[in-house]
Symmetry: C2
Subunit: 193 residues, 2 copies
């Protein structure tokens, strides 16, 4: 068994990220484990957790995903279900609009053109975001509700950032939150019909 | 000036479609004209209109788009704004789910991977569908409203048909219309806030 390197040891963080990209690409997101990534990087699994906190955190860092859902989603959920739709919309567009949002267009493009990349992104989004959101919903069909939230956000992102459709492309985050917030809130909390 | 061929003359329809694909690919959707397509196919412009009705109709046929918006959108609008959201959702998912929906996944994929294809599809969707829908809306910001409708439908299509995210991927058209109908209706008709 290779000895784990200590935090701060030069290059180990980058080596873990390269190993993670290889492990995710080879077996997909769902099959990947911290243990397999650590073994490939020749470090102790504890070091992977030390740097990245969780499998989601490693994936987010390896793919230049702009945030770690394991940290962000609980923070958005914390104030409760009221106005959660607006908080989600606001966070989503602020992140995409910000400097860390740029890799997302590339991620979407590669997912659209490549079946494996699409499956990897789907399993990450499904486990790390939709699953975590669904777990916080008391209403019936929580997974369908959380997927509908995802569908509205993804669709708006495709038209705004990939396709550049006006007037969506140049709407302000406030405007988007004002329109999409109530939609997401309905999906999250409306009574079954 | 080349003489137009008569309707029914063998091969002229296919020749127009090939010419249309070349003209759309070279200059994009917005710049293309019936006249340019006819010239390239060496037929009379009237023959292009005879077969396809409009530029939108030629584009839809050339790209194997499953319907001609110039025919379908007025039909959906005809009963009025009431329950328009549900009619749009139902038509959209019935079309994608049906046998003529299959080319749409390929269209989305090629648009995601190719800037020119994306612009072509954007300009078509923007003129032929969003523009036409917006023109029927009496409320403020009709184009933003129609784009939001498009964003929800596209997002649901990406997750259902391209990414295969459950439970969206196997939801019934009825279920989708029940969830998305009210969202689209809000976008179409809700009062400004």
């Amino acid at each position: 068994v290779p000895r784990g390197r200590r935090p701060g040891e030069s290059g180990s963080r980058e080596r873990i990220l390269a190993a993670a990209r290889a492990v995710f690409a080879a077996g997909g997101y769902a099959e990947a484990t911290i243990r397999a990534i650590a073994a490939r990087a020749k470090v102790d699994p504890a070091l992977v957790l030390h740097y990245f906190g969780s499998k989601e955190g490693v994936f987010a860092a390896a793919m230049e995903f702009p945030f770690d859902p394991a940290e962000v989603i609980p923070g958005l959920l914390e104030p409760g279900l009221e106005e959660l739709g607006e908080r989600l919309a606001r966070f989503f567009f602020q992140t995409w609009d910000g400097p860390r949002g740029r890799p997302l267009v590339g991620l979407l493009r590669s997912a659209a053109g490549n079946q494996r990349a699409a499956e990897m992104l789907r399993d990450f989004v499904s486990e790390a975001m939709i699953g975590r959101l669904a777990a916080a919903l008391p209403a019936a069909n929580p997974r369908l509700r959380a997927s509908l939230v995802g569908s509205q956000l993804i669709g708006a992102a495709v038209l705004r950032y990939v396709v550049g459709l006006e007037p969506l492309a140049s709407a302000s985050v406030d405007e988007l939150a004002e329109w999409l917030g109530p939609t997401l809130q309905e999906y999250l909390t409306r009574a079954a019909r």
